[in-house]
Amino acid sequence: MRNLTKLLTIVGLAVAGSSSLADKVPEASSPVIGKPAPDFALKDLSGNDVKLAAFKGKVVVLEWFNPGCPFVQRSHSVGSLVDTAKRRTKDGVTWLAINSGSAGKQGADAAQNTEAAKKWSMSHPILRDESGSVGKAYGATNTPNMFVIDKTGKVVYAGAIDNSPDGEGKSPRGGKLVNYVDAALDDIAAGRPVQTSVTKPYGCSVKYGS
């Protein structure tokens, strides 16, 4: 009977937890957090080589990108990615977008990426990772999915751009919008540990080939 009571308690909690989505705090994990950032060499939309190792000693933000994803579209047009990269690069941060979409998948077309960069006034490069090897090395699952690398080359933040999973900044969990990347960069600039180091990314799945 005692075991049955335990079972009923567990079931009761499961039922309570599944009844509404509104206030759930999603669980989060990352295979790279606290570890050295996996190195990579990718080409930008103009065919130039971009190597992560070239930014040694600098703070780097990686933004997994897909211009066909409505969450990316909203983040760049009305949400937390509007001007964040521009503002932060002025502070000396290196910001790189990475598209791990396989050829033929949504948002993988080079012309579509070029058009999106123009439309959203993106001054940072979009790197192409058609094989998906870099995305998989970082455990990138969504677009947008953000990673912050500190000056020592360690991944100190992995997760969502913010706590508003509509991409528009209009439905923040807990009522107050938090831009997690801004917060992490503020922590780094202040010389303190990143307080929120992992969150669960939201948005579209990364369109890997296999």
Partner: protein
């Protein structure tokens, strides 16, 4: 006794006390929809003037699409129509279906019009979609 309790617990966990779940799409004319989703009127309950009433709509993802369970589904009421309390609450009912419940307080008997936009998202393996169809619900008020 123990076995009965276990059966009760499992039924409760399924979120469906004795009803038969179906993943098939509803028929008839939807309130809104596209090739990958449809929104239909949900179950109704009696509504009296001056009390808090509930309107429900059911979202069904069509084809290869499923309901995006991470999305903050909400109803943004039209200020010109009957006032709604909050932004509604959304409950999943399987991978392809969910119900949005909208609370409102009618001030007079007759037909109350609940009007607004339902912000929703459905995804397939290849794409996610965010939609915001305008809904107009007529609820009889006693």
């Amino acid at each position: 006794m123990a076995r009965e309790l276990l059966v009760f617990a499992l039924v409760a966990a399924s979120g469906c006390g004795g009803c038969k779940k179906s993943e098939s799409a509803p028929t008839g004319t939807p309130l809104a929809g596209k090739a990958f989703y449809r929104v239909d009127p949900g179950p109704t309950s009696p509504c009296a003037s001056g009390s808090t009433c509930e309107a429900r709509v059911v979202l069904t993802a069509l084809g290869d699409y499923h309901v995006n369970k991470e999305y903050p589904f909400k109803f943004v009421g039209d200020p010109a129509a009957v006032a709604v309390d909050g932004e509604g609450s959304f409950a999943l009912d399987g991978a392809k279906r969910g119900t949005l419940t909208i609370k409102f307080r009618p001030t007079a008997p007759g037909n109350a019009k609940v009007v607004g936009n339902f912000k929703l998202s459905v995804c397939s393996d290849d794409a996610c979609e965010i939609e915001s169809p305008r809904l107009e619900l007529t609820i009889p008020v006693s």
